[in-house]
Amino acid sequence: MLEITNLSKSFPGVRALDDVNLSLKEGEIRALMGENGAGKSTLIKVLTGAYPRSGGQIRFDGELINPTSPADAQRLGISTVYQELNLAPNLSVAENICLGDEDRRYGMIDWKAARQRSISALDRLGIEVGPNKLLGSLSTAQQQFVAIARALDRQARVLILDEPTSSLDADEIKALFSILKRLKDEGLAILFVTHFLGQVYELCDSITVLRNGSNAGDFSVSECPPDQLVSAMLGRELTAEMSHASVAQSSDEVVLQADKLGRRHMVGQLSFELRRGEVLGLSGLLGSGRTETLRLTYGAETADTGRLTVSGKPVERQTPRKMMQAGLGICPEDRKTEGILPGLSVRENLILALQSNRGWYRPLSLRKQNDIVNEMIAKLGIKTPDGNKPIDQLSGGNQQKVILARWLISNPQILLLDEPTRGIDIGSKEEVKSLIARLASEGTSFLLTSSEIEEILEVCSRTLVLRDREMVAELQGGELNEAKIMEIIAGGKA
């Protein structure tokens, strides 16, 4: 029914999608999988007309289509339910279903008809929600059902669901799945974007995997064991027994200890220890809780259970400021909104953590700042004419280097790195890795997430494996190899 061939999308300097192919049949549920940055959301946005495409074709029922906006795609019969729900929380359920295409009588909206329509759309899903209720008063799952009802009301024949289960609990997921199965039987084609392996096996018929903007596999669910799927996503064959001889031995001194640290709806109770000079990895798929673990440890999110001890001293009610003063630093995953300070110069961005640590009344002199900045620019190979260029004019990789440098100059005891090498060119990747190794040998401890297993194996002496927001294993020494990690990650099937 829907046939995408050789679809490409370029942003300035980046090729986000490269000759991607995907097909969707009537009554098929296809999973779209891939790590962050693999191109899933770009694909959806191009498909629904939110982005113009750079090349390739989209056929719908054999006809070439060219949606120019989400509204246009809706008219054609392609509806999307976004992860961050694209509904108005301040309007009623009926309005959310009908708005944009309401029945009108004498130029006025016919609310009676709207309610009727929404009831019938909700009935089709087999759920009962009062059409007059305010959307914002419903649970996330119910809101999701309303979004699906809206799509059905628009005569959608292709339904795209972007990470629909990431904020639902088990019962709600069950309800959603039974609805999706019912729609499938009615002949709808569904594209299901997710990162939960188990759900793919439970619900889907086929899988398309993207990696780095290209097709990395096209499977039928029944013929694809989980480990094959994982390796397609992470880009490694399950063969070589990688060694990690380069990793230095750490001391026995525990610098960070988490005891049943957790937050509801975010990540289960985690307990782990980080030793001086150790590089501890956090493995797991996207959504497994690796980023959340770092954020909880740093106090960027408030933990509601558990205790955290830094260098033997307990830290109560963690906040970033307290953790920073205790000697931690973080390179967040979301560089644009949590990393850089747009509009400020490279220099200001770079010295910020150090200055923050010193307090406002002990400023670094401009000369000192320039010395530090020039040294770091040279050391990390940051491509900028000088420290005064606004950071938003740098490429993503260079921005990431500035943020790394921001922490390196303040000599933290423990660095939390969330995908530290994403979006950096190959050369700098190696530099960053060897930098981590060197700093570790000098006594800095690291807690590091990476979606590339290879990277974890290369730099970490020990790794924690997360699955479905729980810590499921701790691997070190001989156990720490690719096959084992993949096996544990894929074990989430059932």
Partner: protein, 334 residues
């Protein structure tokens, strides 16, 4: 084209305006010595610019944190009312029971403290997560009422020499308000640029989440910015009140908050927070006053300044807008 420094655009504008006016009315730039102090149109321009200048400096800090303070005009009125009240303790006002001659410290210190408190109050509301426009709007509406309450709705005049010297006196040949403005500007500049406060203010305004992660106390920074803004509004209020030898609660500082926002905008500070430019703001404030003076001396009605200001602010904002810039460069390259 070589990149111009951030202050040079408004500065070029100011110089061009001054030169233009000097060409049109000879003697505009002439400074003569009269009664042992400097006098001339140019001195007058600077003198008149003082209240707006003081407000703009505070406003720049507030806007840099990503906010705005609409209440500065009202705070000016309150400060003036408190000062006059302490001096004159007129009947029918809350000051009526004070007796004796107050010390100058009380006359100046108490109003400024009150103004700073008002600013800190705004800051606390904003730090608690209330939108800045709204949080300061409440004080803008209520503040003028409070000022009128303090003066019982009258214009409280005074004859105190010490107080009127503040707005009308001279020191080393220059009007005292100019000295005060210079001192305040210098103090803020040193406080903000010679410590890391300026960096923290910019960081808060540029990205609150990113600053939070590097441990910058965003809330404290906001309270600080609004406090300084209130304090400077207090100083401006004292000068305005001393200038007319009375506290006019109804008109003191009326609409000056808008001028202060415009001056900040003209000075090249981003309206959405982040990078700020104190020197640019100062030039912007003087530029606006020059414009007003020119329009007045040229016999064009005062009203035209309002329209000019409106067009200026939209022009500057458009120039700052990335969409507009993109359009411009696209057309240039096409």
């Amino acid at each position: 084209m070589k990149r111009l420094g951030p202050t040079s655009v408004p500065l070029i504008g100011l110089v061009a305006l001054l030169l233009m006016n000097a060409a049109l009315s000879p003697g505009f730039l002439a400074v003569t010595v009269r009664d042992g102090h400097l006098s001339g149109s140019i001195v007058d321009v600077f003198l008149r610019a003082v209240p707006v200048l003081l407000l703009s400096i505070g406003m720049t800090l507030v806007i840099a944190t990503g906010g705005v303070d609409l209440s500065v005009g009202a705070v000016m009125a309150i400060a003036g009312a408190v000062a006059a009240g302490i001096l004159v303790h007129p009947a029918g006002t809350p000051f009526a029971n004070i007796s004796g001659t107050p010390t100058m410290l009380a006359v100046l210190g108490i109003p400024i403290a009150v103004a700073a408190t008002a600013g800190a109050f705004n800051g606390l509301l904003v730090a608690a997560g209330i939108q800045p426009i709204v949080a300061t709007l409440a004080l803008m509406v209520a503040g003028r009422g409070v000022a009128q309450l303090l003066t019982n709705g009258q214009i409280v005049t005074f004859t105190d020499e010490r107080m009127s010297a503040l707005g009308n006196g001279f020191w080393l040949g220059l009007p005292i308000p100019i000295w005060i403005a210079a001192a305040c500007a210098l103090a803020v500049f040193v406080l903000v640029r010679k410590s890391a406060l300026g960096l923290f203010i910019s960081a808060t305004g540029a990205s609150e989440r990113a600053s939070y992660l590097v441990g910058i106390p965003n809330k404290g920074i906001k309270v600080f910015a609004y406090l300084v803004c209130g304090l400077l509004a207090g100083v401006a209020g004292l000068i305005a009140c001393s200038d007319i030898k009375g506290a006019d609660s109804h008109n003191a500082g009326l609409y000056l908050e808008l001028d202060a926002i415009l001056a900040t905008c003209l000075g090249g500070t981003s309206m959405t927070g982040g990078r700020f430019n104190l020197a640019g703001t100062i030039v912007g404030a003087i530029l606006m006053q020059t414009l007003t003076t020119i329009i007045l001396t040229r016999g064009v009605s005062l009203e035209a300044t309002l329209i000019t200001k409106a067009v200026l602010v939209i022009g500057v904002c458009l120039f700052q807008s990335p969409v507009f810039r993109a359009k411009l460069t696209r057309e240039k390259s096409a």
